[in-house]
């Protein structure tokens, strides 16, 4: 943004051009202008596209992979969700720790009695949804484009109570993933 230094004569001319009495002094007007300009600059610089913050080297899993394989990848890479792709690398779903736990019998939202049963060693009724990733994955995935502002993404993550969004191109191919941690890390660096 080009810096423009307002002179007293500019403000005087502006006030005169209004042809009306305005109860503001040139000095206050100059201060207001400077503050407004600073806010505008902050607003524009804060507009950060997803592509600048996302993890580009995203780990995906094929739809026909075994859920034990998915669990191993999640555990080894210390992540909590994996985009699921087809042969052409198109995004078709997402599989998370919660999906895997659910498939082994854990409820997605468990209460105190469930925890007590677990402590007492009571076996969980296994929900046999299948052994392939595509059978347990969440298919209705919220995605984002790489050019979206991270503020919007943060709002979606908060509203939907999710931890990450796969970033897809115009052909629905996965090109990255943006998580709460990515955004927090970026803001921390600012």
């Amino acid at each position: 943004m080009q810096e423009i230094e307002l002179e007293s004569e500019d403000l005087h001319a502006a006030l005169e051009e209004l042809h009306q009495y305005v109860d503001v002094t040139e000095e206050d007007l100059k201060k207001i202008y400077a503050i407004a300009l600073r806010h505008a600059r902050e607003r524009l610089t804060f507009k950060v596209p997803v592509k600048d913050v996302m993890t580009g080297d995203v780990i995906c899993i094929k739809k026909d992979a075994d859920i034990h394989e998915a669990a191993r990848i999640l555990s080894q890479n210390r992540i909590s969700g994996l985009p699921v792709i087809d042969e052409e690398k198109h995004l078709i779903g997402i599989v998370t720790e919660a999906d895997i736990l659910y498939s082994t019998g854990m409820k997605k939202s468990h209460d105190f009695r469930d925890i007590l049963r677990h402590i007492l060693g009571e076996p969980h009724p296994r929900i046999n949804k299948g052994s392939k990733v595509e059978e347990i994955m969440t298919t209705q995935v919220i995605t984002t484009s790489p050019d979206r502002d991270i503020k919007e993404v943060a709002r979606i993550l908060d509203e939907k109570r999710i931890k990450r969004l796969p970033v897809v191109d115009e052909n629905n191919k996965v090109i990255g993933i943006i998580s709460r941690a990515n955004i927090v890390r970026y803001l921390g660096k600012q």
């Binding site: 009306q20 009495y21 109860d23």
Partner: protein, 179 residues
């Protein structure tokens, strides 16, 4: 200490003078506004031992006819400022009436605080509060009704005239906002 006194130097520039047409519109508006108030007061209110014109309306006229872009001159401030200040003034008179100086100081300061809190700052409101304390017996007899007639109703009449007159000029627009 030096910094404290150096603030009193000022140092800024005064705003430019307005043109002749602006002067004429301001004159016409204030003449019409105060004229209507005075006429209504003498014809309809004074025979009933009431009044419709108080000193603070002169100050309101300066704002709503000559400084029409000012936030202080907008309808919310004009009406709200007079009514809130009227209530504050009557309250202070009724509670501290025997000590006029204390009632007057409290009325003005309380009205300013209330106008700031309610975002209705209108400088003539301070006068409306003060008049509630140091005004005539006729004003005192009105009690809290004073906040609505003459203070509130008078402000409404000034507002109606301001809407009619200020918008006649092609260079003028009133109000900037209502609330």
């Amino acid at each position: 200490m030096k910094e404290y006194f150096s603030k009193m130097k000022g140092g800024g520039t005064s705003p430019p003078c307005v043109g002749i047409s602006e002067v004429l519109w301001s004159w016409l508006g204030s003449f019409a506004g105060i004229g209507v108030l005075g006429y209504l007061s003498s014809s309809y209110f004074e025979p009933r031992d009431l009044t419709m014109i108080i000193g603070s309306f002169g100050a309101s006229a300066v704002l709503v006819y000559a400084a029409i872009k000012s936030p202080l001159a907008q309808p919310r401030n004009l009406i709200g400022g007079h009514i809130i200040s009227g209530l504050a003034g009557v309250f202070c008179y009724q509670v501290f009436g025997t000590a006029t100086w204390a009632a007057a100081a409290l009325a003005v300061s309380l009205s300013i605080a209330l106008m700031l809190v309610t975002n209705t700052l209108h400088p003539p409101g301070g006068a409306t509060a003060l008049i509630a304390v140091i005004g005539s017996e006729q004003i005192h007899n009105l009690g809290f009704f004073y906040a609505f007639v003459p203070a509130g109703l008078g402000a409404v009449i000034l507002l109606i005239v301001a809407l009619l007159v200020n918008n006649l000029s092609k260079n003028r627009k009133y109000p900037e906002y209502w609330f």
